[in-house]
Every structure is written in structure tokens, then in C-alpha cells.
């Protein structure tokens, strides 16, 4: 397994209008690992996550300076194809958001808009993605049913499969389990660990136990800056920074 750096942020600053949300931030995320980003509400976790696939661009008042490298390319440089970036860096949202289509059409959506597959190849991709998201067994005989017929946990796995269908390198997850019950959460956590063999996973979470269960590395963010980052084991056993200690032991948060 190579531990090269997959995501690298340098002097990243993000504003929403006048609000300076991410301040002069540097960080590195290693390939094929699960990295958790933690921090109190409002510290900029989701904003940081969305800077990796430039989803902040969608918000009119946002302004970003600095660099974010995915692999060796700065995604904020002028020649970047944002649409291909978002294919390469997939995203799963807090509340499952299946498209108002069938299960099959949901998964096929990505490849269709990128024109990467059709016909039988598309069928194979749909199957492969659903299997990779541990959902195939539950839906293989009803691919034409509406995605809304699925349970919350299944819908979220559908969203993961949908992101996998366009062959990404990175998967971003913004509190993917916060709307799910414990059993569904457990399934997704197991899935995340399995996914890290082939993808780089970055997960924003409020839930400390989830961060400690699921991640290899943890980054603690506070008021838009990285306070501490390191091996999850070390951070949860012996954090170096006072703020980190206070946050994870629940003294503020």
C-alpha cells in the first residue's frame, strides 16, 4: 500500500461574504486511508471538505484563495475541468439524496452524463458499483424500483454506489451516518473501511466514537485552522494539544 499524499492543501483561505471560514490552512491526506475531520460546530469542517471537489463554487458568496492538490494537480488553477474533478472526487451527503429515478438510473446517472458507458457496459458498472457498496444483494431483483422505496441506510449506500460508478479516486463523506439508525450506521462504517483499500476516504463527523472506530488518521479543526493531526490511535490516547484533549473528552464541543 502506498502512503503517498493524495490531497494537499496549501495556504487555503475560504470566505463566505465577509466571514473568514478557513484560515491559512495547510494539510495533507494520505492515499488509501480513511481520514476523519473533527471539530466543534462552525469550525469549517464541511467547508473544508467541499473545497476538495470545489462544491463551494456553487455558493455565490464564496471566495477561495490558496491551493488544493489532488494528486499532483492544483484544482484551483485556471485550467481545471471542474466537472471532471467532481467525477474524480466523489461526495456523499449527510442526508441521503437519491435522484427521483429508479435504482438503476441513479447509478447510471454519472456514467451517462460523462458519457463513459452505455448499454451492457453500463449494466456491468451498475452491478459492480452496487456490489462495492454492499447493496447488490438487496436490490438486484428490483433495479427498476424507485430509489425512494429503499430504507434510509439503503439509500445512503445507493448514494455511495452512485459516486463509485464514475470511478473516483477520492470519496468525501459529510457526516454520512448522522441521519441513520445504529444498525445502518454500522453497515456504512464497515463499508468505509473496506472502501479505503481502493479509494482515499475523507469523512467529516461529529461523532467521536465513529471517528475513532473508522479512521486511520484524524484531523482536529477549530475556527478554520488545523489544531492537530495524526494517527487516530495517538490522538485518542494521547493528544498533544490542549484544545484537542478538551474537545475529545467532551469538555467543550
Amino acid at each position: 500500500m502506498s502512503y503517498d499524499t493524495k490531497i494537499c492543501a496549501k495556504k487555503l483561505n475560504i470566505w463566505f461574504g465577509d466571514k473568514h471560514v478557513i484560515r491559512d490552512l495547510d494539510l495533507e491526506i494520505k492515499a488509501n486511508t480513511v481520514t476523519a475531520i473533527m471539530g466543534p460546530s462552525g469550525c469549517g469542517k464541511s467547508t473544508l471538505l467541499r473545497s476538495f471537489n470545489r462544491m463551494n463554487d456553487v455558493i455565490k458568496s464564496s471566495r477561495t484563495t490558496g491551493e488544493v492538490f489532488i494528486g499532483d494537480k492544483n484544482v484551483y488553477s485556471n485550467g481545471t475541468n471542474v466537472y471532471d474533478l467532481r467525477r474524480q472526487v466523489g461526495m456523499v451527503f449527510q442526508k441521503p439524496n437519491p435522484l427521483p429515478k429508479s435504482i438503476y438510473e441513479n447509478i447510471a446517472f454519472g456514467p451517462k452524463i460523462h458519457k463513459t458507458a452505455s448499454g451492457k457496459t453500463l449494466d456491468k458498472i451498475v452491478e459492480k458499483s452496487l456490489k462495492a457498496a454492499a447493496l447488490w444483494d438487496e436490490v438486484h431483483d428490483r433495479l427498476n424500483d424507485s430509489a425512494f422505496d429503499l430504507s434510509g441506510g439503503q439509500q445512503q449506500r445507493l448514494c455511495i454506489a452512485r459516486a463509485l460508478a464514475v470511478d473516483p479516486e477520492v470519496i468525501l463523506m459529510d457526516e454520512p451516518c448522522s441521519a441513520l439508525d445504529p444498525a445502518a450506521t454500522a453497515k456504512i462504517e464497515q463499508l468505509i473501511r473496506v472502501l479505503s483499500t481502493d479509494y482515499t476516504v475523507v469523512i467529516v463527523t461529529h461523532n467521536m466514537q465513529q471517528a475513532s472506530r473508522v479512521s486511520d488518521y484524524t484531523i482536529f479543526l477549530y475556527l478554520g485552522k488545523v489544531i492537530e493531526e495524526g494517527n487516530t490511535k495517538v490522538i485518542f490516547e494521547n493528544p498533544q494539544h490542549e484544545l484537542t484533549e478538551q474537545y475529545i473528552t467532551g469538555e467543550f464541543g
Binding site: 467521536m208 466514537q209 475513532s212 485518542f236 490516547e237 494521547n238 493528544p239 484537542t244 484533549e245 475529545i248 473528552t249 467532551g250 469538555e251
Partner: protein, 213 residues
């Protein structure tokens, strides 16, 4: 506002400190008996039994805290260390009992030579000192104080080897030599456990894993 886990940690701490006090008393009485020639075997026995019965509730409490509160960072280190220290306190009690039993069975150091008696007195007092320090350091989570146990342990080791040298010089084994040999061994083990407690305290306070021996 207090965290939910704080109530549990406080209760665990008070149970452990209580056990520590009793352990200290047990070792004190046992060693003083031996060194001064007084007899109090029943008391030592009862105290040792009490110590044994205090261990399990402490372990249960520690496990309950882990299961219910999923402690992390310093909280986690405290729970882990307290469980280890609980075991070390049990050993204090156990060795105190051993000393008392050997003393009652074979006899004290009254018949030993002066040089032996001097060494034994010193070892006894230094060991009691270490026990006291370990408990003091625990009460305040004082890593610096805990680290001083390292020096003390070296001294006790030195006394131990001096004793062995003296023993080799003697020719005829007597009741004194046998009982004092065993007692010295127990004292040395008590000193070791004091340093283990010191190591746990350093870990709990700073996250550092050291060796104080």
C-alpha cells in the same frame, strides 16, 4: 457543567485511594512489626483480606466506565492506569502478608548480626518511604514526584545486593538468615511495585511510557 463520565471517574478514584491507604497501612504494620519485633499478625491478615476484596469492585467500576462512556485521551489513560495500580496495591497487601507469615513462623531479625539488622532496618524504612510516595503521587497525579521513585528504587536495590554480599560471608544458616532472606526479597518486590505504580502515574499524567527501574 460536569461531564457524565466525571461522576464515574471520581467514584473510581475514591475507591482506589481508599485501597491505597489500606495497602499503605498493611505494609507499614507488617514491616514495623518485623523491624521493631512487635507482633500483630491478625491485623495484617485482616487488612490483606480487605485489600483482596476491594480489587474486584474497582475493576468492575473501571469496566463500567469503559462500556458506558467510551473514554478517550486522558480519561482513558486514567482508567487503564487505575486498573494496573489496583493490582499493584493487591501485591502490596500480599507481600505484607508474606512478611508477616514468615516472621511469625520462622522468627524475626532479633538473632541476626548487627550489620544485618542495620541493613534490614534501612530497607524497611526506605520501602515504606516508597510506598508512601507512590500513594502521594497517585492522589495528585504528580508525575514529577512519581519519577523520584526511580532513585529510591536504585537505593533499595543497592541495599538488597549489600545484604546478599553480607549473607554470602556468613557460614551457618540460621532461622534469622532464612527469614531475613525471604523478607528482603519481599521488600524488594514491594519496592518494584512502587515503581510500577510510578510508571502508571507518569503515563496517566503525560501519556509517556517510561521505565523507572
Amino acid at each position: 457543567m460536569k461531564r457524565l463520565i466525571d461522576a464515574g471517574l471520581e467514584q473510581l478514584a475514591s475507591m482506589l485511594f481508599r485501597m491505597g491507604e489500606i495497602a499503605q497501612t498493611t505494609v507499614s504494620i507488617s514491616v514495623m512489626n518485623y523491624v521493631e519485633g512487635t507482633h500483630n499478625p491478625k491485623q495484617v491478615e485482616e487488612l490483606s483480606d480487605t485489600l483482596s476484596s476491594m480489587a474486584e469492585p474497582i475493576e468492575d467500576m473501571a469496566f463500567e466506565i469503559i462500556a458506558r462512556f467510551q473514554p478517550v485521551a486522558s480519561d482513558l489513560r486514567i482508567v487503564k492506569s487505575y486498573m494496573k495500580i489496583c493490582y499493584d496495591f493487591r501485591r502490596y497487601g500480599r507481600y505484607a502478608l508474606d512478611i508477616s507469615q514468615i516472621y511469625e513462623r520462622i522468627g524475626g531479625m532479633g538473632e541476626c548480626g548487627l550489620s544485618f539488622r542495620k541493613l534490614l532496618k534501612k530497607m524497611g524504612s526506605e520501602t515504606l518511604n516508597m510506598v508512601g510516595t507512590s500513594i502521594e503521587a497517585l492522589k495528585n497525579h504528580n508525575a514529577e514526584l512519581a519519577k523520584t521513585l526511580s532513585e529510591m528504587e536504585k537505593y533499595v536495590d543497592q541495599l538488597y545486593y549489600d545484604y546478599l554480599d553480607e549473607l554470602i560471608k556468613t557460614n551457618a544458616p540460621s532461622g534469622c538468615t532464612i527469614s531475613s532472606l525471604l523478607v528482603v526479597r519481599y521488600l524488594e518486590r514491594i519496592a518494584d511495585h512502587a515503581t510500577y505504580i510510578g510508571e502508571s502515574i507518569v503515563y496517566l499524567a503525560t501519556g509517556e511510557k517510561t521505565t523507572l527501574r
